[in-house]
Amino acid sequence: MPQEIHEEHLDNGLMVLLAPVRTAPVATFWVWYRVGSRNEVPGITGVSHWVEHMMFKGTPTLKKGEIMHLVNRNGGVDNAFTWTDFTAYFETFPSDRIDLALRIESDRMVNSLFDPDEVASERTVIISEREGAENDPHFWLAEEVGATAFKVHPYHHDTVGWKTDLETMTRDDLYRHYKTFYAPNNAVIVAAGDFDVNEMLGKIRQSFGSIPRGADAPQVKSVEPPQEGERRVLLRRPGPTSYFHAAYHGPKSSDPDFFPVFVLAGVLAGVGGMSFSGGGSPGRSSRLYRALVESGLATGVDCGFRPTIDPGTIDVTATVRPGVAVEKVERAIFAELEKIASKPVTDAELAKVHKQARSQFVYASDGVMNRGYWLGELEIVASYKMYDAFLDGIANVTKADVQRVAAKYLTETNRTVGWFVPSGNGKARRAAGKRARR
């Protein structure tokens, strides 16, 4: 389903992507900043996410809370989220109100106040967000595995940040981060929905055109060196059962291996959801489900692989069935991974992944919010052009490709293996992982 996408660049470096979709009287407006936890250094981990929270705390012309009132008054919804590679803000409105989104976003791109009192009260909110995540064993294990798999590259830490950094970060740290990364030349606007392209472009020029170009944002230069041997982490904390997580360094989204690995993950566990709201093929005929869940070793298993700017990880995770030793789950998973690296997948498996990908892609094209999300995320991690090339990219993957990337990435030396084993006592240990934070 090719779609109409218009790409424009303003003189100040702002990139604009417009996708007119005139099926419902609704439009969505997004600003994607090329900054996330990937751009953070020790001492200020979590700063991108915290800056996102501060963007709702007011500018000289839109006082704190006013953004929310404007959105409510006009029947809209808004939100923001931060991940390793980006920070994104959106408003969705009935299409005759979409100008408000331009007003809000152009204002807070440069004028957010970062009032010290607001920073202080938000500190407890941010810490509370982290503490809520700490109640979940998955968070501990993912954080620990991520911190072990990445020694050098900032994918090392979770987007929420280390607690000690959240306790000590200052208002100036936050403001400096904002001023460094929030500029038209480090942002992408994505609008999708019921509007006329030329009219929308004119409005964007009017609202954003006069914002001066900022200094070039510092680039992330860290490169994770090749891993030279398996790494293992063991977490003993109170919990209901054991959890398994193996992370393999994988290709970045602009790497030719991206689509073969995407298909590989689909054969292993089913194609995941591509929409903003999740979803995904059930994947209960997949290799990992049959070997782990049907066999009674685990109650859930997945293979996650997301597009990232720098090489991320291919994550195989399982919830161990209570009473089963985690070693057994590990052996069964490794056996499946060795099998797929040593013998080609079948035509039927390949066809299944193609069809699942096509379905998920169609489902994820329903509604303007999904459209805005997809275009933005792909532009940040590679190029929005990937949207139209996506299904072809998957269709072109051969059985030999799948086997080749399995043998290349799913190796012992390339993996970090994490176990979460329930303990009787409540001794907490520090641990990392990556997921989108709101």
């Binding site: 009132h69 700490e134 059930p282």
Partner: protein, 424 residues
């Protein structure tokens, strides 16, 4: 208003000979189809001894049917990129599916097979039981879940279905027999309690013809069981419970009382009041005070679960244990204020603008339309509901909200449940 996707003119609603109510909305803009169904049955028929029966019996439908083994069914879903699920809540059983439009016939065939011809094969059903028991064990370690579950037990008397959650308890789930599951299906799965909504790239008459072909032979015997959620008494005192869980950092809190039925005339006034209280924008007044001003919680919001029965009106919050007392005081202070004085005209007009204005946003996807249609049917709101809706909302006054709040928001007597670190 001409752009509303749901009006009597744009929706086809028919009742098949066997009693299934079918609603179809044709949307040619996405080459897929979304199917949503409901049966008027569920965990309300469980007893204290069979808690979790509806849940397990319904989940087991997918584990084997006359035409499909579990494996064959999974293979079919994965080969087509379809999704399908079925599950039991307390008062309704839901099923839903999604497919590319080219696979619609197959989705209907599978749906009919699962709903009408389950075989409850022993091996697969036992695997399912083990998975549910593992889920229950994980839920027992989840502070949000535990806080809510214990809140429901405090808020409703043991004889009321809402006292429990539909997924049951380990000790009852372990004892349920295959015969009980099959009997539950035979008794409660009936076409005359079933509603089916289809939204997608299909003409209404074609969709109905296909549904008739797939499900027309399904027949019910006798009369359906009475389907009624009893009234819930308001609490007579403050009842509270703390549940300590090892290894936790944050405490999750649920505080509230029984609310009202969706069909109650006070519904609109109470929901608008509740929106202002704990949802609008970033969690309404609660968010402004407890989260933003005092910085006590990452999340604090309210929700009215107005269903066929009077589900709870509750405030949910995640709090650092050392802030617990202050957070609860802050929440109670906001409830007192809501009961003491009318909402301001600014708040009221903002809430009204929001719910009427955002209607289009909720209806921009097939899933949004299907969900709304399902509710319109379940609560008997009429296909002109969305056309009438703005006027219903605009007519609500601050005085009506105050009266409804005073009637339902119990400040002297409430249920309070906390789950969190051991040293709470």
């Amino acid at each position: 208003m001409t752009t509303l996707p749901i009006t009597p003119e744009t929706i086809t609603r028919v009742t098949l000979d066997n009693g299934i109510v079918v609603l179809v909305k044709d949307n040619p803009n996405n080459p897929s189809v979304t199917l949503r169904g409901r049966l008027r049955a569920g965990g309300l028929y469980d007893t204290d001894k069979t808690s979790g029966l509806a849940y397990l019996a319904t989940a087991a439908l997918q584990r084997g049917t006359r035409k499909r083994t579990f494996q064959k069914l999974n293979e079919e879903l994965d080969r087509t990129g379809m999704s399908f699920g079925v599950g039991a809540g307390m008062e309704t059983i839901w099923f839903s599916g999604k497919a590319l439009i080219e696979d619609f016939d197959r989705l209907l065939d599978l749906t009919a097979d699962v709903l009408t011809h389950p075989t409850f094969p022993r091996v697969e059903t036992e695997k399912l039981r083990a998975e549910i028991l593992a889920d229950l064990r994980e839920a027992d370690d989840d502070t949000q879940h535990v806080a809510y579950r214990e809140f429901r037990a405090l808020c409703y008397p043991a004889s009321h279905p809402y006292h429990r959650l539909s997924d049951g308890r380990a000790e009852t789930v372990k004892r349920l027999t295959l015969a009980q599951l099959a009997d539950f299906h035979a008794r409660y799965f009936r076409p005359d309690v079933t509603t089916l909504v289809v939204v997608g790239d299909i003409r209404a008459n074609q969709a109905i013809e296909k549904i008739e072909r797939a499900l027309g032979k399904w027949k019910a015997r006798g009369k359906p069981a009475e389907h009624r959620i009893p009234d819930a008494p308001l609490p007579k005192q403050i009842v509270q419970k703390k549940t300590p869980l090892a290894g936790k950092t944050q405490a999750d809190v649920v505080i509230g009382y029984p609310g009202l039925r969706r069909t109650d005339p006070d519904f609109y006034a109470l929901s608008l009041g509740e929106l202002i209280f704990g949802r609008l924008g970033l969690y309404g007044r609660l968010g402004a005070n407890v989260r933003d001003k005092q910085g006590l919680a990452y999340y604090v919001y309210s929700g009215v679960e107005a269903n066929l029965g009077a589900g709870p009106w509750a405030v949910h919050a995640g709090v650092n244990p050392k802030n617990l007392d202050r957070a609860i005081e802050g929440i109670v202070a906001e409830v007192k204020r809501l009961r003491a004085e009318p909402v301001t005209s600014d708040e009221l007009s903002e809430a009204k603008d929001f719910v009427t204005g955002s209607l289009a946003l909720r209806l921009e996807t097939n899933e949004g339309v299907a969900g709304t249609l399902g509710d319109i049917e379940l609560f008997d709101l009429g296909l002109d509901y969305l056309q009438r809706y703005p006027n219903i909302i605009r007519a609500i006054t601050a005085e009506q909200i105050l009266a409804a709040t005073q009637k339902y928001a119990q400040i002297e007597n409430y249920a309070l449940s906390i789950a969190g670190p051991v040293d709470l």
